[in-house]
Amino acid sequence: MSSTAIPSLRPVPASRPSARPVAGDAGDAALREITDDVMRPLVTRPGAGWWACFAASTIALTIGVAMVAYEIATGIGVWGLNRTVGWAFDITNFVFWIGIGHAGTLISAILLLLRQRWRTAISRSAEAMTIFAVMCAALFPLIHMGRPWLAFWVMPYPNSRGPLWVNFRSPLLWDVFAINTYLTISLVFWYLGMIPDFATMRDRTDAPVRRFAYSVLSLGWNGSARTWSRYETATTLLAGLATPLVISVHSIVSMDFATSVLPGWHTTLFPPYFVAGAVFSGFGMVMTLLIIVRAVMHLERYITAAHLEAMGKIMLLTGSIVGFAYATELFNAWYSHNVYERYAFLNRLAGPYAWCFWIMVGCNALAPQVLWLRRARRSVPLLFVLSILVNVGMWFERFVIIVTSLHRSYLPSSWTMYRPTIVEVGTLAGSFGLFFTCFLLFIRVLPMIAMWEIKAGAGRAAERRA
């Protein structure tokens, strides 16, 4: 039923030389074509690229499972932790993964409220990324407990020990509530966003099993204008709630450190510094994922160079904020006249872990500065390399904050070094395996581009032209 009224079907070259990241960049694709394009990865067999990525991810995941099984069976003594450095790799990974998730919420909620239309092409996959990243993050405190089957002890529940309640004054407990709320609200937001697309797939699928699954998931959605009207209100409300939530989550994560008295941790700078870093690292990961996905799944038409450029600008902004925070920390350490504080930062700059510090500065503060150049922002290979550097740099940032402050604090007789064991490295690899396995399955079974949002953008672009 090709209609005459739908905007023209101009052939679109693989990478359009469009100048601005305007929306509905797919403005010239007709509505049915959008459905077909988005559904294609779900109904066709995956290509060699997908299988190669999937094989690599599952191998990493298997390594991780083996390492975690060994750790749980033996005890956390198999990690390189010692009396002085009681937190290291696991908490680094935890903060790293939580941070990755934040870009998803930023794209889906904050950019929605700011009416940034370019977000529509990438919002769904960014939200999925948030959920998988939070899952990976939650894994680390869980296995650090050593007895993960008792993890429910972190929840306040009536128990036979008094009842002895959890300590509500501890930021570690705030973290439990923040992470769980974040995961729940992200899931609700993600699912609500997919209901109209599930209905589209239900009405376009003949395969009985798929049809049944989409029928259940679409909750009887029929595209009623009354429902759409409420739907827009509901998603705006949820976006409004997710915005302060995402800021609170990483602020609370930073308080795990900032409320202690350790030099290098005990600073009021931490909450904004952590939030900016989280958004920065998250955009790095979104960029990495989308550059791979658009090539593997042939979605260059929807995830355009203009989208990548917009993300590059956000990376430049947040990377500069992070760089400014590093400078502020150093300045404050000097300005405080506190010997311990001064030493903590001197130790970061020139101590045994200085190489980590300089990787962090190079990858996070310096490398993104190349994005001031428009040519750099539009070069996909360069953006890909930069996004990997950002991921690496932000992982090292957390490592630097955690380990350099702990290994040499107030009491020199306790000073020691920390070195991760193969079990810790394998667990980190496993978390990447879990993340990418989930993501690769996601792009095969769920619509990774929000069809209805792209269609709305296309419809409105046609309206503006008229």
Partner: protein, 177 residues
Amino acid sequence: MSGAAREFIVARFGDERHVVDAVRAVRERGLRVFDVYAPYPVHGLDEAMALRRSRLPWATLAGGCSGFVAAIAFQYYAAVVSWNLNVGGKPDNSMLAFIPIAFEITVLGAGLATAAAFLARSGLRPAIRARTVDLSATDDAFVVALRCRQTAFDRNLVERLLFEHGAQTVAWKVLDL
């Protein structure tokens, strides 16, 4: 809105602007629009259909307030009434330290209440048979449905009106909506 099968006039459009015009025209003739089905939220349709502003924000407010009160009350009960534990000499009632969790539970309550109220009010629930008027309404078409038994209903007039405003097809259907 559910129940026995009823007669409808179902008009299909290929362009969102035509739909808005048609709805406006139909309503100007004093006829009620049963509903419009679209693949995405169409701008201007709310006004054309004279839909009331959603009251969902009240559900959000109620959920948020309940969450806040419950979180503060429970933390106070656990830390002050039920088992007061001295942690580093801090006061039992460390109200400031209870705020972060109260904030999280406020957001959680507000978010879940919003989602639940939206689903309940829209009649969306698992395994329900979709009350579909036209399968392409979730894909690429805009569908206007009118109840046939209305006062001042003139089938010919309505059909002409819909075609005049860009309908591609107009059909007479018995549906169980």
